[in-house]
């Protein structure tokens, strides 16, 4: 499966709000750690090394 770079999340504004709400009250180090955990969880969910490699490239 190829990396999806077209819009794919329903209710984008609700998603964005939920994402930022997860960081409410966290300091910089805690937020960074949350982001790291989140990335690891999502990568595991994807499970496809080619897709993850393409995502890493797209993010650079």
């Amino acid at each position: 499966m190829a990396l999806i770079l077209q819009p794919n999340i329903p209710d984008q504004d609700g998603f964005y709000q939920e994402l930022l709400a997860a960081h409410d009250g966290l300091g910089k180090a805690e937020s960074d750690a949350l982001n790291a955990r989140l990335i690891l969880i999502l990568c595991n969910h994807i499970g496809d090394r080619e897709v993850i490699a393409a995502a890493l490239k797209a993010a650079k």
Partner: protein, 541 residues
């Protein structure tokens, strides 16, 4: 004496002494509207056109200056059209479709509203608020000439009110001194600082955004295209966190600068300082005149409920949003049309007073949707924390290259009317395969007919719209008449009517409210179900 709080763009209802001021007994009116702004006038017009005499009181003698609300939505124009003044607004307004989003010097992406064809009114127009208001007042004058009872009293300021159970007693101040009035029903359209709300001691809770916006309307004959240009972190000198450039009629351009919280208002409003900012944005060679400037702050908040006995609140008096998305005046116009038909039925004795509670229920629902959308836009445009700034800038960076990030860019979600899903008056959806956009609770979507447009063909009362199927020509339930609008394939030259109202279905029957929202729909006429839906839609179940 009444003091003036602002300068006028148009003096339209100068103070004149009326006999009621010397009456030994207070004059009694079925409906008094306080505030002759766009929402007050639209409400008064709608009620007067339904045959109700309306008195409008305003503490000024005309329309305040300044472009203020400049962006009017399709639904708002459809409401104005039903009231008789939409065409004049569209003719004067500027139609726009393309928006460009910048981050600093970089163009992130552009969008095209690509308005769907087959609507009488455009997706949006830009029009200075004083023109919008003046077209409404012009319509009032036309209706007065047609014999409708609608009166505007300028420099009549309400100073006190008392709920006497069977009426509201008002004390009104004028240049000739105070007098008293009694109103069966009072509609408060007296703006975000609503003095009536204060007098009644009612709360107005919400979130304050600590920010100042500088508006500069500049007049120039420049070559800028008719587009909405929005900058995150604008590259021009001292432009603040965001900036907006948008065209209005008469060669006027609206420029907004987001200045932050700790500013010196006097200094920022100094013409030399404003010119320095505008020069930096438009380039040193731009020739322009400053037409109007202002600094404003905003809050996102609403009243807990919009009905308090015989007093109803509408527009900014009831709810306030951030400017992102043009959801202030546009939602206020929807308040007006929601309230007018309900109050008319209640006064005629055709619906119980409880129907007015559905005004509050539905418009609180709408206000919450608007507050949510405008709050999210504000949080995106002005991130409040380091991490939210980081994510915001990541979205903008990704949006350059990747389509998925563009829908996340939020410079304001433009006003669309809400659908009253699952609320008290909304009925059943029995139309299998029917389009979601016209489901019960939704406002009717316009469509071209063989002659004219669908929304023009809907009556001022309840309508039974039948598509490719039969139903009685007229029918009544509990004294309320329902007019049939029978349409078929011959009436649908473009196929839009079928796409918007039939979807996968071959036939359909829609019960439609006087404010053009769908009550319920079925594949064929069902008398028992239609009667039940009509009772529900008029607060009788």
């Amino acid at each position: 004496m009444t003091q003036s709080r602002y300068r006028l763009a148009f003096e339209l209802y100068p103070y004149r002494k009326v006999a009621a001021q010397d009456a030994p007994v207070p004059e009694r009116h079925p409906i008094v509207v306080v505030g002759a702004g766009p929402i007050g006038i639209a409400t008064a017009l709608d009620l007067a056109q339904r045959g109700q005499p309306v008195l409008v009181l305003d503490d000024h003698e005309g329309i305040g200056e300044g472009s203020r609300a400049i962006c009017f939505s399709q639904r708002c124009l459809e409401i104005a059209d039903r009231l008789g003044c939409g065409a004049a607004m569209v003719e004067k307004g500027v139609v726009w479709n393309v928006g460009k989003v910048f981050h600093g010097d970089d163009r992130v992406f552009e969008f095209n509203l690509q308005p769907e064809t087959g609507h009488k009114n455009p997706a949006f127009i830009n029009l200075q608020q004083p023109y919008f208001e003046k077209f409404l007042i012009d319509q009032v004058r036309a209706e007065q000439n047609n014999g409708l009872e609608i009166e505007i009293r300028g420099r009549n300021r309400v100073t006190a009110l008392e709920d006497r159970g069977d009426c509201i007693a008002l004390s009104v101040d004028t240049p000739d001194g105070p007098y008293s009035l009694h109103a069966d029903w009072l509609i408060a359209c007296d703006g975000a600082r609503s003095p009536l709300r204060e007098m009644m001691g009612l709360g107005f809770e919400g979130r304050v955004f600590e920010d100042n916006f500088l508006i500069a309307d500049v007049k120039m004959t420049a070559d800028f295209p008719t587009e909405r240009w929005f900058w995150f972190e604008p590259p021009f000198k001292d432009a603040g966190q965001s900036a907006l450039l948008h065209r209005q009629p008469d060669d006027i351009w609206r420029i907004d600068f987001q200045l932050g919280w700790d500013i010196d208002r006097e200094k920022e409003l100094d013409e030399a300082n404003i010119r320095a900012r505008v020069d930096s944005m438009l380039g040193p060679e731009a020739q322009y005149e400053l037409e109007w400037t202002s600094i404003y702050t905003f809050q996102c908040r609403r009243m807990e409920r919009f009905r308090h006995g015989r007093v109803m609140f509408a527009g900014d008096a009831a709810h306030q949003v951030s400017p992102f998305g043009a959801r202030g005046a546009n939602s206020g116009m929807q308040d007006a049309e929601n309230l007018a038909w309900k109050l008319d039925l209640v006064i005629r004795g055709l619906a119980p007073e409880d129907l007015l509670d559905s005004y509050s229920e539905e418009r609180v629902f709408g206000a919450d949707e608007n507050i949510l959308n405008s709050t999210r836009a504000t949080d995106f445009i002005t991130p409040k924390t380091e991490i939210s700034t980081l994510f915001r800038n990541a979205v903008l960076t990704l949006a350059h290259k990747h389509a998925f990030a563009r829908p996340l860019v939020n410079s304001g979600r433009l006003s669309v009317p809400c659908t009253y899903d699952g609320l008290s008056l909304t009925g059943e959806d029995r139309l299998a395969g029917g389009p979601a956009r016209t489901r019960p609770g939704a406002p009717c979507v316009d469509a071209p007919l063989r002659d004219g447009f669908l929304l023009d063909a809907l009556g001022s009362g309840f309508t039974l719209l039948t598509l490719n199927t039969d139903a009685p020509e007229t029918f009544a339930e509990a004294g309320i008449d329902v007019a049939r609008l029978a349409l078929g394939a011959d009436d649908d030259p473009t196929g839009a009517l079928s796409a918007r109202y039939l979807g996968q279905a071959g036939t359909a029957v829609y019960l439609i409210r006087p404010d053009q929202h769908v009550v319920a729909r079925w594949p064929a006429f069902d008398e028992t179900a239609t009667r039940a839906a009509l009772r529900r839609a008029t607060g009788q179940e």
